[in-house]
C-alpha cells in the first residue's frame, strides 16, 4: 500500500511530460472505486442479515438512505459519516430486537 502511494505520486512529479497513463486504462480505472465500493455497500444496506430487508425498521437501510442524501446535497464526507451514524444508532436503539 505504501508502494501504491509512492507509485502514484512520485514518478509523475519526477517525470512530468515523460509519463502518461494510457487513455483506455485511465477510462476503466476511473470506474473502479465506484464499482467496488458500491458492490460492498449495497448488500450491507439492503440485506444486513443476508436476507433482503426493505423495512423502515432496518437501521442499515434508513441510515444508508440518509447518508446518500447527505452526501448528494453537501458533498461533505464528515457530515455524511456523522449524520449517517447518528441515524444508525438512534434507529438501532428504537428498533432493537
Amino acid at each position: 500500500m505504501m508502494a501504491v502511494t509512492v507509485i502514484v505520486r512520485y514518478p509523475v512529479l519526477a517525470l512530468v511530460g515523460r509519463f502518461d497513463i494510457p487513455a483506455p486504462v485511465y477510462r476503466a480505472l476511473k470506474f473502479v472505486p465506484v464499482a467496488v465500493l458500491t458492490a460492498i455497500s449495497v448488500p450491507e444496506i439492503l440485506a444486513p442479515e443476508g436476507e433482503l430487508a426493505l423495512s423502515y425498521s432496518n437501521a442499515h437501510l434508513v441510515a444508508g438512505t440518509i447518508a446518500i442524501a447527505t452526501a448528494w446535497r453537501t458533498r461533505n464526507l464528515l457530515a455524511t459519516i456523522v449524520l449517517g451514524m447518528a441515524v444508525f444508532f438512534v434507529w438501532r436503539y428504537l428498533f432493537a430486537a
Partner: protein
C-alpha cells in the same frame, strides 16, 4: 548553469527557507483541523475491526492516504483479495497523479532527494495550498520549503489524530457491539457519491449494486468481483455510446 537562477547567492528580501516552511504550515492549518476527525475515526474503526494498534499506526505512517486507508481496512475486514484492494486504492489515489503533474512543472529544478519525500507527502490539502503558492507571482526561490512545511504539518497531524483514534478505539473494543463497522458503509457512501457526476458513472453504480445483490451468496467474495467487473463494463459501454451519440445528434440538429 541555470540552477544558479534558483540557488544564486542573492536571496530576494523577505524570503527564507524557514519563513516559507512555517508559512506553508500556517496556511494549511484550517485544512489540518479538517483532517483531525478523519484520523480519529480511522484509528478507532481500524482497531475495532481487524487491525492491531501497531498495524493501524503503521498504515497511517507508511500509506498516508485518508480515503485509501478507510477503503483498505473496509476491504480487509470483508476478506477481499489483496489484488483487488491494491487496484481500488490505486484508482482512488489516481487524482494525485493529476496534482503531481500540475505541481511538477514548477519543480523540475529540484533533485530527487526533494522530489521523493515531497511526492510521498502530496495530499489534497497540501496540493491546494502549494499550487496557490507556486502560482503566486513572486520570485521566492524557496517555494518548495513552503510545500515541505505544509506536508510536514499534515503528516504529523495525521499520525497524532490516528493515535488518538487508536487509544479511543481500544477502550470501545471491549464494549458490546456498537455497530462501529457500519461507519465503513457511510464512509464508502461519502466517498462514492461525489464520484457520481455523469450518467455512465451512475449506471456503473446501479449495475454494480444490482449484481452485488444477486450474487450476494456466492462464496469467496466472487460475487463482489462479478459485480465490480459488471459495473465497470456498464460504465465503459455507456461512455462509448454517449460519445458516439453526440456527433449524430449535432448533425441532426443542423
Amino acid at each position: 548553469m541555470d540552477v544558479d537562477l534558483y540557488h544564486g547567492p542573492v536571496t530576494p528580501l523577505g524570503y527564507s527557507r524557514k519563513s516559507e516552511f512555517f508559512r506553508g504550515g500556517k496556511d494549511t492549518f484550517p485544512l489540518i483541523l479538517g483532517a483531525i476527525p478523519f484520523g480519529i475515526i480511522f484509528g478507532a474503526v481500524a482497531v475495532t475491526t481487524d487491525f492491531s494498534a501497531w498495524g493501524t499506526l503503521a498504515m497511517s505512517a507508511f500509506v498516508f492516504a485518508g480515503s485509501a486507508q478507510f477503503i483498505a481496512i473496509g476491504l480487509v475486514a470483508q476478506g477481499i483479495a489483496t489484488g483487488l484492494i491494491v487496484l481500488t486504492t490505486f484508482a482512488v489515489n489516481l487524482r494525485h497523479a493529476l496534482y503531481a503533474a500540475s505541481l511538477g512543472i514548477y519543480m523540475k529544478h529540484l533533485p530527487h532527494r526533494w522530489l521523493l519525500p515531497l511526492g510521498f507527502w502530496l495530499t489534497d490539502e497540501t496540493y491546494a495550498v502549494a499550487i496557490r503558492r507556486y502560482l503566486n507571482n513572486d520570485a521566492s526561490p524557496y517555494k518548495h520549503w513552503y510545500y515541505l512545511g505544509s506536508a510536514v504539518f499534515m503528516y504529523g497531524n495525521w499520525q497524532l489524530s490516528t493515535l488518538i483514534g487508536v487509544v479511543a478505539g481500544q477502550k470501545l473494543r471491549n464494549l458490546p457491539d456498537l455497530g462501529l463497522s457500519y461507519a465503513m458503509v457511510v464512509t464508502f457512501i461519502g466517498i462514492v457519491i461525489p464520484f457520481i457526476t455523469s450518467r455512465p458513472m451512475l449506471l456503473c453504480a446501479v449495475v454494480s449494486g444490482a449484481v452485488a445483490m444477486v450474487t450476494d451468496g456466492v462464496p469467496n467474495k466472487m460475487g463482489l468481483m462479478m459485480a465490480a467487473v459488471s459495473g465497470i463494463a456498464a460504465g465503459l459501454a455507456a461512455e462509448r455510446w454517449a460519445v458516439k451519440d453526440r456527433p449524430a445528434k449535432e448533425l441532426n440538429r443542423n
